[in-house]
């Protein structure tokens, strides 16, 4: 057999049009299914993260006596997805410290903070704290301690309860996502039409990522309220807020109400 015989034999091998169409249809169907599942998983992880945060905050507020560093007693819902236990514990600590500061923050300040970059707030921490943004100027590593006047700023038991995010009303197609293929989430007061600085949140708000193997792992939420002001647990503030789902370009793809 010579090489030209071999190439001639291969030249005669063609895939039929029907097979091509079937392959394309199959790929489209599987792609749509995968995207829908990923959105559901991400949404579930986000909701679980919020519940975990609120429960941690609630537990911390209702622990009497001296301030204790928050400890991760309960396993995270995402701990089985290749997440380091220390990371989860750190996240809980972050969530727990969140609620102390939030009680002193107004909704208008929340709106202002949603456009503040991480780097900016870090720089601010080196300067003297100002009267306008007392909670923002703290370094993330510093844990606020309750004082004698703390009961005045403590949220109610209701405020310490879980935050529930209602399901989004549609499936978000992968083509709607930005170049990074990621979906971001943020809670902010109603009325937003566009996220002005989506890059400011990419460090903390990514709650899923894909590996080169194409698998999706869930990364727990690491929202740091000192860097990105989070709406307080005050029910009146939450009633005026929405959960925004947006891409890396800042385009809001969907919203869902929170309770």
């Amino acid at each position: 057999m010579k090489a030209n015989t071999y190439t001639a034999a291969l030249d005669s091998v063609h895939v039929s049009q029907a097979v091509i169409e079937a392959a394309i249809a199959s790929a489209k169907r599987r792609r749509a299914k995968t995207t829908a599942n990923q959105i559901k998983i991400r949404y579930a992880a986000a909701a679980a993260g919020f519940v975990l945060a609120s429960v941690s905050g609630y537990a911390l507020y209702h622990s009497s006596g001296d301030f204790q560093p928050p400890v991760n007693h309960a396993p995270s819902p995402t701990s089985s997805t290749d997440t380091e236990p220390t990371e989860v514990a750190e996240n809980n600590a972050t969530f727990a410290t969140m609620t102390y500061d939030e009680a002193t923050v107004t909704a208008s300040e929340n709106a202002e903070m949603t456009t503040t970059k991480v780097t900016e707030s870090t720089e601010e921490s080196a300067e003297a704290p100002t009267a306008e943004t007392p909670t923002v100027t703290k370094k993330p590593t510093e844990k606020p301690k309750p004082t004698d006047s703390a009961p005045e700023t403590k949220p109610s038991a209701l405020a310490g309860g879980p935050i529930i995010i209602d399901p989004i009303d549609r499936e978000i197609d992968r083509s709607e996502l930005g170049d990074d293929g990621k979906l971001y989430m943020m809670i902010a007061p109603t009325g937003l039409t566009h996220i002005d600085e989506p890059g400011a949140f990419t460090g903390d708000h990514v709650y899923y990522y894909e590996t080169k193997f194409g698998r999706t792992y869930i990364k727990p939420l690491t929202i740091n309220p000192e860097d990105h002001l989070f709406p307080s647990d005050n029910p009146s503030d939450l009633g005026n807020s929405l959960c925004y789902f947006y891409n890396s370009r800042g385009e809001i793809l969907s919203t869902s109400s929170i309770r």
Binding site: M1, Y6, V13, V15, A23, G214
Partner: protein, 158 residues
Amino acid sequence: MVHRIGTDQAESIFRQYADMIYRVALHNLKDPADADDILGEVCLVLMTKKVPDEEQHLKRWLIRVTVNKCRDLSRSFWRRNRESIDNYEHIEAPPPNGFPEEVQSLPENYRNIIYLYYYEEYTVSEIADILNMNVNTVKSGLKRAREQLKRLLKDSDG
């Protein structure tokens, strides 16, 4: 550079390279039905992953993706644990896929090397890059494949 493409563009690229993907899959799996499955897998990768910009790189990337998908299928639980249809004489053998039997009898890596060298006319270094192998491994593989083919063809001639 790599970038994500739209569904329409992925479809267009897939149609353009479908024959090549099918041939590579047939070389690796020998089974037309499995090669059809690989077509769907590669199409899905095109629609969901970032693909190279340049056509030359795109073609190599597609060959690599196809070879990897074929390996995944070969190593799958289903593939490793099923019984060959050849063991059942009362069932008709699958129709020939159009490839020379001598080439099909070569080991998987040799088949890929022979295909890329003689049909796609890639150089040894390019084949090494596509298959993620050492250049010298490709050279020795090509040499052994030729020797094996020569022996097989002698036997078939009688």
